[in-house]
């Protein structure tokens, strides 16, 4: 088969591009710019591309935010857990402290904590009864002087318990010389 070259191509020659076909080719070539894209294709395309770009950017940002949140969660999570356990321990101590305070308040309300003062009062009452019984033994005349001596010397307790009538007189004399006169 014969071949002939057309714009660098090897083609079958079979009556390729005779005069009529060459004219047809030129007619077709002239009509090349006849069809155009519509006016709204450009804005439609650019708007669509822009929307898609924004969507991709949002997805990118969302992905980054999620990744950052996950990383922060991984980093901070264990610390939060340990902090919570520490807080739980602290609250346990706090509970114990509150229980103690409540117990003390209950004791105060019920008067249990005044036992010690009752014991002190009872002790002073016993001492007072002893002093009165001793006063009754020594007589009512010395009662005022004895009480004065007790309050001034502050050592009347031992003296009163072991006192004989003589010694008491001596002490009375030393304590209040003016009374003998």
């Amino acid at each position: 088969m014969k071949r002939h070259s057309h714009q660098g191509d090897d083609l079958p020659e079979d009556d390729f591009l005779p005069g009529d076909l060459a004219k047809i080719e030129s007619l077709v070539r002239a009509a090349g710019d006849y069809v155009q894209p519509s006016d709204d294709l450009r804005p439609r395309l650019l708007e669509s591309a822009r929307g898609e770009r924004q969507l991709r950017r949002r997805r990118w940002v969302a992905t980054r935010v999620c990744a950052a949140a996950a990383a922060i969660g991984l980093l901070v999570g264990p610390q939060i857990v340990s902090h919570r356990s520490a807080m739980a321990e602290a609250s346990q101590r706090e509970r114990i402290a509150r229980a103690v305070v409540a117990q003390q308040q209950n004791a105060h309300r019920s008067g249990v904590d005044s036992v010690y003062w009752e014991l002190v009062n009872a002790f002073w009452q016993v001492r007072q009864e002893q002093s009165e019984s001793l006063r009754a033994l020594t007589g009512p005349s010395n009662a005022g002087q004895r009480s004065t001596a007790q309050s001034s010397t502050g050592q009347g307790d031992a003296g009163e318990q072991n006192a004989s009538p003589d010694s008491e007189q001596v002490s009375t004399q030393n304590a209040t010389p003016g009374a003998l006169e």
Partner: protein, 225 residues
């Protein structure tokens, strides 16, 4: 050059921003002037290299440069302006979304044509039953004042092209309007050069018959009037 994206807001930051924008636009204008000196394929390649770079709106430039040719190719396959524009839009959206394949292509323009062809064929397969009409009323056409006399011829040519099988129509588009060799067309269509050549021959023969018929009809109508 001061960055226009500075996070600190000094009193001069706005001035720097304006200066940055001005320089950027100036560089784009200079670049555009440089690009215009290149051939069509080189311009497409230059734009494809810049695809995906932040802050550079390459898609608009690519559309302005290629949309007419892409729509023309897609109309030849789908026979419908709307479907052709859908195919072109789908293709360019994909290019904007994933610019790497086009950027890495040795020859971006044939690659882009192949992408549009594939999308147009998909749309054509989906709407095959609606392809009966060969009217060209849906086509968006350009009417130059100095070409008004030839408008009937152009219309007849397009009407005839839309009656051809898609395999022959696309070969005619690529051969006559894209001025590709049969080898290049074969690369775009994944066919052998001989197959492409025979499709071209058959297609052109059919066009001749139809256009002759149209011319005769026009002559007859002229005679009746």
């Amino acid at each position: 050059m001061p960055s226009s994206r500075g996070s600190t807001k000094s009193p001069h930051s706005e001035n720097f921003h304006f200066l940055g924008t001005f320089l950027h636009k100036r560089a784009a204008v200079v670049h555009h002037a440089g690009v215009q000196k290149l051939s069509f394929e080189q311009q497409v390649q230059a734009l494809a290299v810049q695809l995906g770079r932040p802050g550079v709106d390459v898609l608009a430039g690519l559309f302005d440069l290629t949309s007419q040719r892409l729509v023309r190719m897609a109309v030849a396959i789908t026979r419908s302006q709307y479907d052709a524009e859908d195919a072109v839009q789908t293709t360019l959206e994909r290019v904007a979304r994933q610019p790497a394949p086009l950027r890495k292509a040795d020859r971006p323009w044939p690659y882009l044509l192949r992408m549009v062809r594939n999308d147009a064929l998909q749309i054509r397969r989906r709407k095959k039953r609606w392809l009966g009409s060969h009217s060209i009323t849906d086509l968006v056409t350009r009417r130059r004042v100095d070409e008004l006399e030839q408008e009937d011829t152009h219309r007849a040519v397009w009407q005839a092209i839309r009656t051809l099988p898609a395999e022959q129509a696309e070969v005619i588009v690529l051969k006559i309007w894209e001025e590709m060799t049969f080898g290049e067309i074969a690369d775009v269509l994944d066919a052998s050069p001989n197959t492409v050549a025979s499709r071209y021959q058959y297609g052109l023969g059919k066009l001749a018959g139809k256009l002759q018929k149209t011319a005769e009809e026009a002559l007859e109508e002229g005679g009746r009037r």
